[in-house]
Symmetry: C2
Subunit: 238 residues, 2 copies
Protein backbone atom coordinates (compact mmCIF):
# COMPACT_ATOMS: atom_id res chain seq x y z
CA UNK A 1 0.00 0.00 0.00
CA UNK A 2 1.48 3.31 -1.16
CA UNK A 3 3.27 5.62 1.34
CA UNK A 4 2.97 3.32 4.30
CA UNK A 5 4.81 0.18 3.29
CA UNK A 6 8.25 1.38 4.36
CA UNK A 7 7.50 2.61 7.87
CA UNK A 8 9.96 1.67 10.61
CA UNK A 9 7.53 0.70 13.35
CA UNK A 10 4.04 0.74 11.86
CA UNK A 11 0.85 0.23 13.85
CA UNK A 12 -2.79 0.36 12.84
CA UNK A 13 -4.97 2.38 15.22
CA UNK A 14 -8.76 2.16 15.13
CA UNK A 15 -10.02 5.73 15.37
CA UNK A 16 -13.66 6.70 15.81
CA UNK A 17 -12.90 10.25 16.91
CA UNK A 18 -14.16 9.73 20.47
CA UNK A 19 -12.20 10.06 23.70
CA UNK A 20 -10.98 6.48 23.97
CA UNK A 21 -9.75 5.92 20.43
CA UNK A 22 -8.19 9.39 20.22
CA UNK A 23 -6.33 8.83 23.49
CA UNK A 24 -5.24 5.41 22.26
CA UNK A 25 -3.80 7.06 19.17
CA UNK A 26 -1.86 9.49 21.37
CA UNK A 27 -0.57 6.55 23.44
CA UNK A 28 0.56 4.68 20.31
CA UNK A 29 2.45 7.73 19.10
CA UNK A 30 3.94 8.27 22.55
CA UNK A 31 5.20 4.66 22.38
CA UNK A 32 7.07 5.49 19.17
CA UNK A 33 4.80 3.87 16.61
CA UNK A 34 4.30 5.17 13.07
CA UNK A 35 0.52 5.21 13.11
CA UNK A 36 -2.00 4.48 10.39
CA UNK A 37 -5.42 5.56 11.65
CA UNK A 38 -8.37 3.51 10.42
CA UNK A 39 -11.94 4.81 10.64
CA UNK A 40 -15.17 3.33 9.30
CA UNK A 41 -17.98 4.94 7.42
CA UNK A 42 -20.40 2.21 8.43
CA UNK A 43 -23.78 3.86 8.17
CA UNK A 44 -23.62 5.20 11.72
CA UNK A 45 -26.21 7.85 12.60
CA UNK A 46 -23.38 9.86 14.17
CA UNK A 47 -21.44 9.88 10.91
CA UNK A 48 -20.24 13.38 11.80
CA UNK A 49 -17.81 11.55 14.14
CA UNK A 50 -15.70 10.99 11.02
CA UNK A 51 -14.99 14.73 11.01
CA UNK A 52 -13.72 14.41 14.57
CA UNK A 53 -11.58 11.46 13.53
CA UNK A 54 -10.10 13.55 10.71
CA UNK A 55 -9.34 16.45 13.05
CA UNK A 56 -7.69 14.17 15.61
CA UNK A 57 -5.69 12.26 12.97
CA UNK A 58 -4.40 15.51 11.56
CA UNK A 59 -3.55 17.03 14.93
CA UNK A 60 -1.73 13.85 15.97
CA UNK A 61 0.25 13.74 12.72
CA UNK A 62 -0.61 10.17 11.73
CA UNK A 63 1.24 8.78 8.70
CA UNK A 64 -2.05 8.13 6.99
CA UNK A 65 -5.74 8.18 7.82
CA UNK A 66 -7.95 5.69 6.00
CA UNK A 67 -11.73 5.93 6.09
CA UNK A 68 -13.08 2.54 5.05
CA UNK A 69 -16.66 2.33 3.72
CA UNK A 70 -18.67 -0.53 5.22
CA UNK A 71 -22.42 -0.66 4.91
CA UNK A 72 -23.44 -2.22 8.22
CA UNK A 73 -26.67 -0.24 8.02
CA UNK A 74 -27.71 -2.77 5.36
CA UNK A 75 -28.18 -5.21 8.25
CA UNK A 76 -29.45 -2.76 10.89
CA UNK A 77 -30.11 -4.26 14.29
CA UNK A 78 -28.87 -1.31 16.34
CA UNK A 79 -29.99 2.18 17.34
CA UNK A 80 -26.76 3.39 15.74
CA UNK A 81 -27.44 1.90 12.30
CA UNK A 82 -31.22 1.64 12.04
CA UNK A 83 -34.23 3.83 12.64
CA UNK A 84 -34.37 3.12 16.38
CA UNK A 85 -34.21 5.88 19.01
CA UNK A 86 -31.03 6.33 21.03
CA UNK A 87 -31.92 6.05 24.75
CA UNK A 88 -31.37 9.28 26.68
CA UNK A 89 -30.68 10.22 30.30
CA UNK A 90 -30.40 6.70 31.64
CA UNK A 91 -29.23 6.30 35.24
CA UNK A 92 -25.42 6.63 34.92
CA UNK A 93 -24.92 3.95 37.56
CA UNK A 94 -26.83 1.47 35.39
CA UNK A 95 -24.83 2.14 32.22
CA UNK A 96 -22.60 -0.82 31.41
CA UNK A 97 -24.64 -3.37 33.37
CA UNK A 98 -26.45 -4.77 30.35
CA UNK A 99 -26.10 -4.60 26.58
CA UNK A 100 -28.05 -1.58 25.30
CA UNK A 101 -29.83 -1.10 21.98
CA UNK A 102 -26.90 1.02 20.75
CA UNK A 103 -24.85 -2.20 20.55
CA UNK A 104 -23.90 -2.80 16.91
CA UNK A 105 -23.68 -6.54 16.24
CA UNK A 106 -20.07 -7.71 15.81
CA UNK A 107 -18.82 -4.17 15.23
CA UNK A 108 -15.43 -4.41 16.92
CA UNK A 109 -14.91 -7.89 15.46
CA UNK A 110 -15.42 -6.49 11.98
CA UNK A 111 -13.32 -3.37 12.64
CA UNK A 112 -10.45 -5.43 14.08
CA UNK A 113 -10.67 -7.92 11.20
CA UNK A 114 -10.25 -5.19 8.63
CA UNK A 115 -7.47 -3.65 10.73
CA UNK A 116 -5.86 -7.08 10.72
CA UNK A 117 -5.90 -7.20 6.93
CA UNK A 118 -4.38 -3.73 6.73
CA UNK A 119 -1.77 -4.58 9.37
CA UNK A 120 -0.71 -7.65 7.46
CA UNK A 121 -0.45 -5.82 4.15
CA UNK A 122 1.73 -3.02 5.55
CA UNK A 123 3.74 -5.27 7.88
CA UNK A 124 2.41 -3.84 11.15
CA UNK A 125 2.73 -6.14 14.15
CA UNK A 126 0.44 -4.11 16.41
CA UNK A 127 -3.20 -3.07 16.20
CA UNK A 128 -4.42 -0.52 18.74
CA UNK A 129 -8.03 -0.34 19.87
CA UNK A 130 -9.53 2.04 22.41
CA UNK A 131 -11.70 -0.63 24.00
CA UNK A 132 -12.54 0.10 27.60
CA UNK A 133 -14.45 -2.03 30.06
CA UNK A 134 -14.80 0.40 32.98
CA UNK A 135 -16.76 3.52 32.04
CA UNK A 136 -18.37 1.95 28.99
CA UNK A 137 -21.72 1.17 27.45
CA UNK A 138 -21.62 -2.55 28.27
CA UNK A 139 -20.73 -3.81 24.82
CA UNK A 140 -19.40 -7.39 24.94
CA UNK A 141 -16.74 -6.61 22.33
CA UNK A 142 -15.04 -4.08 24.62
CA UNK A 143 -14.04 -6.60 27.28
CA UNK A 144 -10.51 -7.94 27.80
CA UNK A 145 -11.59 -11.55 27.22
CA UNK A 146 -12.82 -10.56 23.77
CA UNK A 147 -9.59 -8.74 22.91
CA UNK A 148 -7.53 -11.74 24.03
CA UNK A 149 -9.66 -14.18 22.02
CA UNK A 150 -9.42 -11.97 18.95
CA UNK A 151 -5.63 -11.85 19.22
CA UNK A 152 -5.41 -15.64 19.53
CA UNK A 153 -7.64 -16.06 16.49
CA UNK A 154 -5.71 -13.43 14.51
CA UNK A 155 -2.45 -15.29 14.95
CA UNK A 156 -4.02 -18.48 13.59
CA UNK A 157 -5.72 -16.65 10.71
CA UNK A 158 -2.82 -14.89 9.08
CA UNK A 159 0.43 -15.48 7.27
CA UNK A 160 2.11 -13.25 9.87
CA UNK A 161 0.88 -15.35 12.75
CA UNK A 162 1.63 -18.68 11.11
CA UNK A 163 5.12 -17.60 10.08
CA UNK A 164 5.95 -16.45 13.60
CA UNK A 165 5.57 -12.68 13.30
CA UNK A 166 3.09 -12.34 16.14
CA UNK A 167 0.31 -9.81 15.83
CA UNK A 168 -0.58 -7.99 19.03
CA UNK A 169 -3.93 -6.36 19.71
CA UNK A 170 -3.17 -3.58 22.17
CA UNK A 171 -5.97 -2.08 24.24
CA UNK A 172 -4.00 0.20 26.55
CA UNK A 173 -7.09 1.80 28.12
CA UNK A 174 -9.03 -1.39 28.80
CA UNK A 175 -9.00 -1.08 32.60
CA UNK A 176 -8.90 2.69 33.04
CA UNK A 177 -11.73 4.94 34.12
CA UNK A 178 -12.87 7.70 31.80
CA UNK A 179 -11.30 10.27 34.14
CA UNK A 180 -7.95 8.47 34.05
CA UNK A 181 -8.12 8.30 30.26
CA UNK A 182 -8.83 12.02 30.00
CA UNK A 183 -5.96 12.85 32.34
CA UNK A 184 -3.63 10.62 30.32
CA UNK A 185 -4.60 12.18 26.99
CA UNK A 186 -4.31 15.67 28.39
CA UNK A 187 -0.80 14.85 29.62
CA UNK A 188 0.03 13.63 26.09
CA UNK A 189 -1.16 16.91 24.62
CA UNK A 190 -4.39 15.67 23.09
CA UNK A 191 -6.96 18.41 22.50
CA UNK A 192 -10.31 16.88 23.46
CA UNK A 193 -12.24 19.72 21.86
CA UNK A 194 -11.45 17.97 18.57
CA UNK A 195 -13.17 14.75 19.67
CA UNK A 196 -16.82 13.71 19.53
CA UNK A 197 -18.37 11.01 21.71
CA UNK A 198 -22.09 11.52 21.17
CA UNK A 199 -24.23 8.77 19.57
CA UNK A 200 -26.84 11.27 18.44
CA UNK A 201 -25.23 14.60 17.56
CA UNK A 202 -26.88 17.27 15.44
CA UNK A 203 -25.76 17.93 11.87
CA UNK A 204 -23.38 20.55 13.17
CA UNK A 205 -21.56 17.99 15.32
CA UNK A 206 -22.91 19.27 18.63
CA UNK A 207 -23.45 16.59 21.29
CA UNK A 208 -26.94 15.67 22.56
CA UNK A 209 -25.78 15.57 26.18
CA UNK A 210 -28.12 12.73 27.08
CA UNK A 211 -26.98 9.48 25.44
CA UNK A 212 -24.88 6.98 27.39
CA UNK A 213 -21.75 8.16 25.64
CA UNK A 214 -22.39 11.83 26.51
CA UNK A 215 -23.15 10.92 30.13
CA UNK A 216 -19.94 8.91 30.48
CA UNK A 217 -17.94 11.68 28.83
CA UNK A 218 -19.32 14.40 31.07
CA UNK A 219 -18.75 12.29 34.18
CA UNK A 220 -15.18 11.66 33.05
CA UNK A 221 -14.31 15.34 32.71
CA UNK A 222 -15.98 16.11 36.05
CA UNK A 223 -14.07 13.38 37.86
CA UNK A 224 -10.81 14.34 36.14
CA UNK A 225 -11.28 17.95 37.21
CA UNK A 226 -10.67 19.06 33.66
CA UNK A 227 -12.90 21.53 31.85
CA UNK A 228 -15.25 19.75 29.44
CA UNK A 229 -14.74 21.38 26.01
CA UNK A 230 -17.75 19.61 24.46
CA UNK A 231 -20.15 21.68 22.38
CA UNK A 232 -23.68 20.67 23.37
CA UNK A 233 -26.79 21.18 21.26
CA UNK A 234 -28.84 22.06 24.36
CA UNK A 235 -28.04 23.13 27.90
CA UNK A 236 -27.28 20.06 30.02
CA UNK A 237 -30.07 18.68 32.22
CA UNK A 238 -27.94 18.44 35.35
CA UNK B 1 -33.72 -7.18 8.29
CA UNK B 2 -36.71 -7.52 5.95
CA UNK B 3 -37.91 -10.96 4.77
CA UNK B 4 -35.45 -12.97 6.80
CA UNK B 5 -36.19 -12.04 10.40
CA UNK B 6 -38.95 -14.61 10.92
CA UNK B 7 -37.26 -17.74 9.61
CA UNK B 8 -37.64 -20.91 11.66
CA UNK B 9 -34.09 -22.21 11.56
CA UNK B 10 -31.95 -19.54 9.90
CA UNK B 11 -28.29 -19.95 9.01
CA UNK B 12 -25.85 -17.69 7.23
CA UNK B 13 -23.80 -19.45 4.54
CA UNK B 14 -20.70 -17.86 3.05
CA UNK B 15 -20.96 -18.41 -0.70
CA UNK B 16 -18.19 -17.63 -3.18
CA UNK B 17 -19.66 -19.73 -5.96
CA UNK B 18 -16.85 -22.30 -5.92
CA UNK B 19 -17.11 -26.02 -5.21
CA UNK B 20 -16.60 -25.90 -1.46
CA UNK B 21 -18.97 -23.08 -0.54
CA UNK B 22 -21.64 -24.29 -2.96
CA UNK B 23 -21.47 -27.80 -1.51
CA UNK B 24 -21.59 -26.35 1.99
CA UNK B 25 -24.78 -24.52 1.04
CA UNK B 26 -26.29 -27.80 -0.18
CA UNK B 27 -25.27 -29.45 3.11
CA UNK B 28 -26.87 -26.66 5.16
CA UNK B 29 -30.11 -27.00 3.22
CA UNK B 30 -29.97 -30.78 3.56
CA UNK B 31 -29.70 -30.28 7.33
CA UNK B 32 -32.94 -28.33 7.31
CA UNK B 33 -31.64 -24.78 7.64
CA UNK B 34 -33.32 -21.74 6.11
CA UNK B 35 -30.27 -20.33 4.38
CA UNK B 36 -29.16 -16.77 3.80
CA UNK B 37 -26.27 -16.82 1.35
CA UNK B 38 -23.64 -14.11 1.83
CA UNK B 39 -21.16 -13.23 -0.92
CA UNK B 40 -18.59 -10.45 -1.09
CA UNK B 41 -17.77 -8.06 -3.86
CA UNK B 42 -14.31 -7.41 -2.46
CA UNK B 43 -12.32 -6.26 -5.46
CA UNK B 44 -11.39 -9.81 -6.43
CA UNK B 45 -9.93 -10.19 -9.94
CA UNK B 46 -12.27 -13.15 -10.41
CA UNK B 47 -15.30 -11.00 -9.68
CA UNK B 48 -17.22 -13.05 -12.23
CA UNK B 49 -17.44 -15.66 -9.43
CA UNK B 50 -20.33 -13.56 -8.09
CA UNK B 51 -22.34 -14.69 -11.12
CA UNK B 52 -21.64 -18.28 -10.15
CA UNK B 53 -22.72 -17.49 -6.59
CA UNK B 54 -25.96 -16.04 -7.92
CA UNK B 55 -26.65 -19.10 -10.08
CA UNK B 56 -25.95 -21.48 -7.19
CA UNK B 57 -28.01 -19.45 -4.69
CA UNK B 58 -30.94 -19.44 -7.08
CA UNK B 59 -30.70 -23.13 -7.92
CA UNK B 60 -30.48 -24.03 -4.23
CA UNK B 61 -33.48 -21.85 -3.37
CA UNK B 62 -31.86 -19.83 -0.60
CA UNK B 63 -34.18 -17.50 1.34
CA UNK B 64 -32.06 -14.57 0.39
CA UNK B 65 -28.72 -13.89 -1.28
CA UNK B 66 -26.80 -10.83 -0.11
CA UNK B 67 -23.79 -9.51 -2.01
CA UNK B 68 -21.87 -7.28 0.38
CA UNK B 69 -19.48 -4.66 -1.08
CA UNK B 70 -16.10 -4.56 0.64
CA UNK B 71 -13.15 -2.81 -0.92
CA UNK B 72 -10.25 -5.03 0.14
CA UNK B 73 -8.49 -4.06 -3.09
CA UNK B 74 -7.86 -0.70 -1.39
CA UNK B 75 -5.26 -2.55 0.70
CA UNK B 76 -3.99 -4.97 -1.98
CA UNK B 77 -1.35 -7.40 -0.79
CA UNK B 78 -2.59 -10.41 -2.78
CA UNK B 79 -2.56 -11.68 -6.36
CA UNK B 80 -6.36 -11.76 -6.06
CA UNK B 81 -6.78 -8.09 -5.17
CA UNK B 82 -3.74 -6.33 -6.63
CA UNK B 83 -1.87 -6.22 -9.91
CA UNK B 84 0.19 -9.34 -9.18
CA UNK B 85 0.17 -12.40 -11.48
CA UNK B 86 -1.66 -15.52 -10.37
CA UNK B 87 0.83 -18.46 -10.37
CA UNK B 88 -0.02 -21.14 -12.94
CA UNK B 89 0.71 -24.86 -13.32
CA UNK B 90 2.43 -25.34 -9.99
CA UNK B 91 3.26 -28.90 -8.97
CA UNK B 92 -0.09 -30.16 -7.59
CA UNK B 93 1.71 -32.09 -4.88
CA UNK B 94 3.22 -28.86 -3.59
CA UNK B 95 -0.06 -26.94 -3.43
CA UNK B 96 -1.09 -26.40 0.18
CA UNK B 97 2.41 -26.76 1.63
CA UNK B 98 3.07 -23.06 1.94
CA UNK B 99 1.03 -19.86 1.80
CA UNK B 100 0.86 -18.66 -1.82
CA UNK B 101 0.62 -15.13 -3.17
CA UNK B 102 -3.10 -15.64 -3.80
CA UNK B 103 -3.61 -15.51 -0.03
CA UNK B 104 -5.78 -12.49 0.79
CA UNK B 105 -4.82 -11.09 4.21
CA UNK B 106 -7.47 -11.84 6.84
CA UNK B 107 -10.11 -12.61 4.21
CA UNK B 108 -11.99 -15.38 6.01
CA UNK B 109 -11.72 -13.47 9.30
CA UNK B 110 -13.42 -10.49 7.69
CA UNK B 111 -16.01 -12.60 5.86
CA UNK B 112 -16.89 -14.52 9.03
CA UNK B 113 -17.05 -11.28 11.06
CA UNK B 114 -19.58 -9.78 8.69
CA UNK B 115 -21.48 -13.08 8.63
CA UNK B 116 -21.47 -12.89 12.43
CA UNK B 117 -23.09 -9.46 12.37
CA UNK B 118 -25.74 -10.67 9.94
CA UNK B 119 -26.33 -13.84 11.96
CA UNK B 120 -26.86 -11.83 15.12
CA UNK B 121 -29.26 -9.40 13.45
CA UNK B 122 -31.46 -12.14 11.97
CA UNK B 123 -31.19 -14.47 14.97
CA UNK B 124 -29.20 -17.21 13.24
CA UNK B 125 -27.22 -19.48 15.56
CA UNK B 126 -25.15 -21.09 12.81
CA UNK B 127 -22.70 -19.74 10.24
CA UNK B 128 -21.57 -22.13 7.54
CA UNK B 129 -18.21 -21.79 5.80
CA UNK B 130 -16.78 -24.04 3.10
CA UNK B 131 -13.29 -24.01 4.58
CA UNK B 132 -11.29 -27.07 3.70
CA UNK B 133 -7.81 -28.04 4.85
CA UNK B 134 -7.17 -31.08 2.65
CA UNK B 135 -7.19 -30.21 -1.07
CA UNK B 136 -6.65 -26.51 -0.51
CA UNK B 137 -4.34 -23.66 -1.36
CA UNK B 138 -2.61 -23.57 2.03
CA UNK B 139 -4.41 -20.52 3.42
CA UNK B 140 -4.07 -20.33 7.22
CA UNK B 141 -7.68 -19.19 7.60
CA UNK B 142 -8.99 -22.47 6.19
CA UNK B 143 -7.64 -24.66 9.00
CA UNK B 144 -9.75 -26.16 11.80
CA UNK B 145 -7.73 -24.39 14.52
CA UNK B 146 -8.67 -21.06 12.95
CA UNK B 147 -12.36 -21.98 12.73
CA UNK B 148 -12.37 -23.06 16.37
CA UNK B 149 -10.62 -19.88 17.52
CA UNK B 150 -13.03 -17.74 15.54
CA UNK B 151 -16.01 -19.48 17.13
CA UNK B 152 -14.60 -18.96 20.62
CA UNK B 153 -14.00 -15.28 19.88
CA UNK B 154 -17.45 -14.86 18.32
CA UNK B 155 -19.18 -16.07 21.46
CA UNK B 156 -17.28 -13.52 23.55
CA UNK B 157 -17.91 -10.72 21.05
CA UNK B 158 -21.65 -10.79 20.71
CA UNK B 159 -24.86 -10.28 22.61
CA UNK B 160 -25.91 -13.76 21.47
CA UNK B 161 -22.82 -15.39 22.91
CA UNK B 162 -22.88 -13.44 26.17
CA UNK B 163 -26.58 -14.11 26.71
CA UNK B 164 -26.11 -17.84 26.19
CA UNK B 165 -27.38 -18.29 22.64
CA UNK B 166 -24.24 -19.97 21.34
CA UNK B 167 -23.11 -19.21 17.82
CA UNK B 168 -21.66 -22.15 15.93
CA UNK B 169 -19.28 -21.84 13.01
CA UNK B 170 -19.86 -24.97 10.95
CA UNK B 171 -17.24 -26.09 8.45
CA UNK B 172 -18.68 -29.44 7.38
CA UNK B 173 -16.10 -30.02 4.63
CA UNK B 174 -13.01 -29.15 6.66
CA UNK B 175 -11.44 -32.63 6.55
CA UNK B 176 -12.77 -33.93 3.24
CA UNK B 177 -10.86 -34.33 0.00
CA UNK B 178 -12.05 -32.45 -3.07
CA UNK B 179 -13.23 -35.76 -4.57
CA UNK B 180 -15.29 -36.54 -1.46
CA UNK B 181 -16.79 -33.04 -1.56
CA UNK B 182 -17.77 -33.40 -5.21
CA UNK B 183 -19.36 -36.80 -4.56
CA UNK B 184 -21.28 -35.36 -1.61
CA UNK B 185 -22.58 -32.38 -3.57
CA UNK B 186 -23.52 -34.57 -6.52
CA UNK B 187 -25.50 -36.82 -4.16
CA UNK B 188 -27.28 -33.70 -2.83
CA UNK B 189 -28.24 -32.68 -6.37
CA UNK B 190 -25.83 -29.78 -6.76
CA UNK B 191 -25.09 -28.89 -10.38
CA UNK B 192 -21.37 -28.12 -10.47
CA UNK B 193 -21.61 -26.61 -13.93
CA UNK B 194 -23.05 -23.56 -12.14
CA UNK B 195 -19.93 -23.12 -10.00
CA UNK B 196 -16.65 -21.35 -10.70
CA UNK B 197 -13.38 -22.08 -8.89
CA UNK B 198 -10.82 -20.29 -11.03
CA UNK B 199 -8.74 -17.41 -9.58
CA UNK B 200 -8.12 -15.97 -13.02
CA UNK B 201 -11.09 -16.58 -15.32
CA UNK B 202 -11.73 -14.67 -18.53
CA UNK B 203 -14.48 -12.05 -18.75
CA UNK B 204 -16.83 -14.74 -19.96
CA UNK B 205 -16.35 -16.77 -16.79
CA UNK B 206 -14.28 -19.50 -18.39
CA UNK B 207 -11.62 -21.04 -16.15
CA UNK B 208 -7.88 -20.62 -16.84
CA UNK B 209 -7.14 -24.27 -16.11
CA UNK B 210 -3.76 -23.53 -14.56
CA UNK B 211 -4.18 -21.75 -11.22
CA UNK B 212 -4.04 -23.73 -7.97
CA UNK B 213 -7.80 -23.65 -7.70
CA UNK B 214 -8.30 -25.01 -11.22
CA UNK B 215 -5.73 -27.74 -10.61
CA UNK B 216 -7.38 -28.83 -7.36
CA UNK B 217 -10.79 -28.78 -9.01
CA UNK B 218 -9.72 -30.88 -11.98
CA UNK B 219 -7.97 -33.37 -9.70
CA UNK B 220 -11.13 -33.60 -7.59
CA UNK B 221 -13.39 -34.48 -10.50
CA UNK B 222 -10.85 -37.00 -11.80
CA UNK B 223 -10.54 -38.71 -8.43
CA UNK B 224 -14.28 -38.67 -7.91
CA UNK B 225 -14.81 -40.28 -11.30
CA UNK B 226 -17.34 -37.58 -12.16
CA UNK B 227 -17.29 -35.70 -15.43
CA UNK B 228 -15.80 -32.21 -14.98
CA UNK B 229 -18.36 -29.74 -16.35
CA UNK B 230 -15.96 -26.78 -16.17
CA UNK B 231 -15.74 -24.47 -19.17
CA UNK B 232 -12.06 -23.76 -19.81
CA UNK B 233 -10.70 -20.79 -21.73
CA UNK B 234 -8.02 -22.96 -23.33
CA UNK B 235 -7.49 -26.69 -23.79
CA UNK B 236 -5.98 -28.17 -20.62
CA UNK B 237 -2.22 -28.75 -20.53
CA UNK B 238 -2.45 -32.33 -19.24
Amino acid sequence: MANVDKLKKPAVVLLSGGIDSSTTLAVAIDRGFDTIALSFDYGQRHRVELEAARRVAESQKVKRHIVFPLNLAAFGGSALTADISVPKHRDPDRIGHNIPITYVPARNTIFLSIALALAEVIGAATIFIGANAVDYSGYPDCRPEFIDAFETMANLATRSGVEGRKITVAAPLIDQSKAEIIKLGTRLGLDYSLTLSCYDPDADGRACGGCDSCLLRRKGFLEAGILDPTRYAAAPLV
